[in-house]
């Protein structure tokens, strides 16, 4: 660096030499790059000409990204509204049909047909609620609901404290008969006591198995009660099986929307919690974006890593065909792009 800088004439000479040498350099960008660039540009031009450019994800800048909140928020609200629409009526209407057949309120129910003393406690009676007949009755009432739906609904019933009756029935449905008043095998005689005390441990009308002579008289109404209770357990408080299926679907959609929102916000604890609840990891929003895509668009590196480690599809493209890797590259997110490539993104 001790030599003198060149004069302008010498600079021109060097520049001319450089240009001459460059002209002889056969190095060229690959044809695939040229083709990719021109196709991409042409596609963008078509989108612009069609006025769709603003809707295209790839054109969004960081400053514009908060506008993605709108569809995400609307989607979450819609899912919550659907869930609410299905659940709220169950607080109001379903209680009516069960009361006339239930003996939970002594004043409104016919006296128990059992002449024997109501000596058995509810604790002794309740385990009998889970007779196989009860379950089969529930299945007969809800033929359209398959086992998977029933599992979802039962677990949903467990999570909803307000649905006391359903929860109780669900718990009963999973409990084995143990200290029941009738140690013998469950029979039709045990059904009346089951049905009559689904949720009222202190009801005076409960009969023990020792009241077998009178149980046959009440077998039919009791069986109806059993079906009703079991149906309630299977369909979240006595709603039709179709509604139960829809409720389960709406619940899953709401969870998926929450997952996408957590990914968008980079809320890793929430993300892990939702993934632990088996949220659909590759569920898409209206624009075809998965949680992984949203996390990528918002530069949520940790969220991306969590989703990838949980098995998110690294190549799940959105409605425009843009993959998460393309979004990361266009959004200038090298760390996310690296994580995606390691996960097999193309």
């Amino acid at each position: 660096m001790s030599e003198l800088p060149p004069s302008p004439e010498e600079s021109d000479e060097v520049d001319a030499l450089y240009r001459r040498a460059s002209a002889r350099d056969a190095s060229r960008p690959s044809e695939s790059v040229r083709r990719a660039v021109l196709e991409h540009a042409a596609q963008l031009a078509v989108n612009r000409a069609a006025g769709k450019d603003s809707a295209r994800r790839g054109t969004r800048t960081r400053a514009k990204r908060p506008s993605w909140w709108r569809p995400a928020a609307l989607g979450t609200l819609a899912a919550a509204a659907i869930a609410g629409f299905l659940v709220i009526p169950q607080y109001l209407a379903p209680l009516a049909p069960i009361n006339p057949t239930s003996s939970t309120v002594p004043a409104t129910t016919p006296p128990a047909p059992t002449p024997g003393p109501a000596s058995s406690s509810a604790e002794a009676v309740r385990p009998q609620a889970v007779t196989p007949e009860t379950r089969s009755a529930a299945r007969k009432e809800a033929p359209a609901a398959d086992d998977a739906t029933e599992e979802v609904v039962v677990s949903a019933a467990k999570r909803m404290p307000a649905q006391g009756r359903s929860r109780q029935a669900a718990q009963n449905a999973t409990r084995e008969p143990s200290v029941a008043g009738a140690p013998s095998a469950p029979t039709a005689q045990s059904v009346p006591s089951t049905a009559s005390t689904p949720n009222t441990p202190n009801t005076p009308s409960t009969s023990s198995a020792s009241s077998a002579p009178s149980a046959q008289d009440s077998a039919q109404p009791a069986a109806r009660n059993a079906r009703s209770v079991a149906s309630g357990a299977a369909a979240l408080s006595y709603s039709p099986p179709q509604a139960a299926s829809v409720a389960a679907t709406a619940g899953l959609k709401a969870t998926a929307a929450q997952l996408r929102q957590a990914a968008e916000l980079g809320n890793v604890p929430a993300l892990q919690s939702l993934l632990g609840k088996q949220a659909a990891i590759d569920a898409r929003d209206d624009s075809g974006r998965t949680a992984l895509m949203l996390a990528t668009l918002h530069g949520r590196t940790e969220a991306v890593k969590v989703l990838l480690s949980a098995g998110a599809d690294p190549n799940a493209a959105d409605a425009n065909g843009t993959t998460p890797l393309q979004a990361a590259l266009e959004g200038d997110q090298p760390a996310i792009a690296d994580a995606l490539r390691r996960a097999g993104a193309r």
């Binding site: 660096m1 030599e3 003198l4 800088p5 060149p6 010498e10 600079s11 000479e13 060097v14 520049d15 030499l17 450089y18 240009r19 001459r20 040498a21 460059s22 002889r24 350099d25 190095s27 060229r28 960008p29 690959s30 695939s32 790059v33 040229r34 990719a36 660039v37 021109l38 991409h40 540009a41 042409a42 963008l44 031009a45 078509v46 612009r48 000409a49 450019d53 790839g58 054109t59 800048t61 590259l329 266009e330 200038d332 090298p334 792009a337 690296d338 490539r341 390691r342």
Partner: protein
């Protein structure tokens, strides 16, 4: 202005309105200049290809928001510079973590101390072009980039200083020393 009579800025404006042909004209006009800038800086053909695609994707994506407050080439080479720096940083990080499972791409600074290591240098021939390549290998990264920005991007010292975030005097010195070294290395071809 070119044979088509349209400036770069006019072509960008046309493309921003959805005319794909304008972009193609623009691309073909500047393709080799951007390519030489990238390849001679990173000295790896695959990396240069990848950067080339990223740069032009960015140009296409941001065309609708482009406002000709500066020369198009200044904007274009600013994008190229930033993409290249990002690539170098990523390569460094990947090298240190060894997460990609393959050998890291050579980066500008790594090659300065070992001029014959890069693929660019491996293509050296006993002609003028080969001598130019060897000469570039002998330049420090900052000087090489400043020179390439000026000769390929046709940028002023002020514009180069702005892009590389250096002072005017520093940039001017880099350019002078780059030319001095090139002149020395290429004098037998002059």
């Amino acid at each position: 202005m070119t044979v088509t009579g349209e400036s770069d800025e006019e072509l960008m404006a046309r493309y921003g309105r959805g005319d794909a042909a304008a972009f193609e004209s623009l691309y073909r006009r500047h393709e080799m200049r951007v390519w030489r800038y990238l390849e001679r800086n990173v000295r790896n053909r695959a990396t240069a290809d990848e950067l080339m695609q990223e740069v032009w994707f960015a140009v296409a994506r941001d065309a609708a928001r482009y406002t000709p407050t500066a020369k198009f080439t200044t904007w274009l080479f600013t994008i190229a510079h930033h993409r290249m720096i990002d690539s170098i940083r990523t390569s460094r990080r990947n090298t240190s973590l060894d997460v990609l499972g393959f050998e890291a791409e050579p980066v500008v600074e790594q090659l300065v101390s070992e001029p014959s290591a890069g693929p660019f240098a491996m293509a050296v021939a006993r002609d003028e072009a080969g001598a130019l390549i060897r000469a570039f290998d002998g330049l420090p990264a900052e000087q090489r980039e400043a020179f390439l920005l000026q000769i390929e991007g046709d940028l002023s010292v002020e514009e180069i200083a702005s892009i590389t975030q250096s002072s005017f005097e520093t940039t001017k010195s880099r350019l002078r020393y780059a030319r001095a070294k090139l002149r020395e290395l290429l004098k037998e071809y002059a």
